[in-house]
Subunit: 72 residues, 2 copies
DNA sequence: TTAATTAGTGCATCAAAATACACTTTTTAT
DNA sequence: ATAAAAAGTGTATTTTGATGCACTAATTAA
């Protein structure tokens, strides 16, 4: 997932859960300003910030292998 | 994945690929010092740093829904 | 064993992330 | 239409991430 995709995922998930940025900020312990900036596509959050947000949204950060094309 | 798990994943992947921290640092554009700190469990990388590392290791950062237990 | 390579750390600097406050804009609901 | 709620931004401060250099520790190979 590229950066924009990660942002969109967080934002959409929050909207699906129908919680405000304010609530997510409080619940996650991430500053409201930080969340606002993140969702509006600015900044470059730390892994910890991303994990805190993902956590309260019932998600998790993971690493997965990309598709490896094997030429025949 | 928890923080430690993410670190371990990166480190193991690098070892499987048999590349040194120095190589990964150069290839990814991440400072060697930064990578060293990350792999030794210190610090809190930015999403961009994590993505650069994942990228050269043929991986990607993603967000996924945690298992949601639905009570019946 | 020991020389060479790779990994980890102390210290210092610079840039940027996190944060708060106050204000504007946009969206939503009445 | 308009009031209320939610989202976005400017400015400023504090904290901390990213980085380099130089050095130590650990690992690996000859």
């Amino acid at each position: 997932m590229h950066y924009e995709e990660l942002i969109k995922t967080i934002k959409q998930r929050r909207e699906v859960m129908q919680v405000t940025q304010e609530s997510v900020a409080e619940l996650s312990g991430v500053g409201l300003r930080t969340l606002k900036q993140f969702e509006s596509g600015k900044g470059n959050p730390t892994l910890m910030t991303l994990q805190k947000l993902a956590d309260v949204l019932g998600m998790e950060v993971c690493l997965k292998l990309k598709n490896v094309t094997v030429s025949k």
